[in-house]
Point group: C2
DNA sequence: GATAGTACTATACTAAAGTATAGTAAGTGC
DNA sequence: GCACTTACTATACTTTAGTATAGTACTATC
C-alpha cells in the first residue's frame, strides 16, 4: 500500500470540512424528513406530524425551532381567528433538493442491495 | 392555503421512505467522514484518525464495525509481521459519491450564506 | 533497555437525542 | 355544556452518541 501523501490528506480535508458543516446543520433523525415534508408547500404543525411518521410533538416543536434558527424554515402566524401557524421552506433550504435527491436514490439502491444479498444467502443455504 | 391532498401525501412518503433508509445507515457525526477518508484508497486505523479530526479511537472502532456490518467497509488483515490491518470501501459504498458531493456542495453554499448574513447584519448595525 | 508506533479494548462518564404521557389555552361544531 | 381540534409546552424518562483516559500485546528502532 502506498503511503498517504500530504497532498491527498489536504484534498481529503477540503471535502471533509464542508461535509461536516452540512452534517452539523442536518444531523439527527428528523430534520431532513421535516424538510422533505415542507417541499410540498407550507404546512401546519399537525400536517407535518402526519407526513413524518413516528415523530412526537415535542421533537417536531424542537426541530422546527432549530431549523428556524438556522434559516431553513420560516414560521408564519396568520392572525385570523383562530390563529393559524404555518411553516415553509426558505429559498436557502430549497437548495437542499440535490442532497435529498441523492439520499433518496441511494436509499433505493441500498434497499435493492439488501434484498439481493438476502436472496443470495438463501441460495447458498439451500446447497 | 390549499389542503394537503391524498396524492401529495403519498408522493411525500415515496420520497421519505428511501431518505429515512439512508439516514438509518449513515446517521451520526462520523460515518460519512470516515467514508470520505476511505474514498482516497484503503487506509489503516491511525491514517483514518489523522483525516477525521477529533474522532476518538473508541468511536472509530465502533463506527468501522457498524459500517462493516452494513456492507460499506471491508476489513483486511495482512498476516505480515507485524500484522497490518487495512480498511477500504466496497463497490456499494462507492455509490455514496453523489450523496457526499451533494453534502459537500451544500456545505459550501451554507457557509457562504452564513457569511453573507453576517455582513448584512453588520451593515444594519452601523446605521 | 527505553521509547515509540500499531490496532485496538475497557471502563467510566457526560451530553444529546429521542420517547411517553399529560396538560393547556384558545376556538369550533353540535 | 361536551367533545374535538390546533399548536403547542412540561415533566420525566430511556437510549444512543460521543468523550476522556488508560491499558494491552505486539513489534520496531535507537
Amino acid at each position: 500500500m502506498k503511503k498517504t501523501t500530504e497532498e491527498e490528506h489536504s484534498q481529503c480535508t477540503s471535502i471533509l470540512r464542508p461535509v461536516r458543516d452540512s452534517l452539523d446543520v442536518l444531523n439527527g433523525k428528523w430534520k431532513l424528513p421535516i424538510i422533505v415534508s415542507l417541499t410540498f408547500g407550507e404546512k401546519r404543525f399537525t400536517d407535518i406530524t402526519k407526513d413524518v411518521h413516528g415523530i412526537t410533538d415535542r421533537m417536531l416543536s424542537k426541530e422546527l425551532r432549530d431549523l428556524e434558527m438556522n434559516g431553513l424554515v420560516v414560521r408564519k402566524i396568520q392572525d385570523t381567528y383562530p390563529v393559524k401557524v404555518t411553516y415553509s421552506l426558505t429559498p436557502h433550504s430549497k437548495t437542499l433538493r440535490t442532497v435529498i435527491d441523492a439520499l433518496r436514490n441511494w436509499g433505493l439502491l441500498h434497499r435493492k442491495k439488501l434484498n439481493q444479498d438476502c436472496k443470495e444467502r438463501k441460495v447458498v443455504s439451500k446447497k
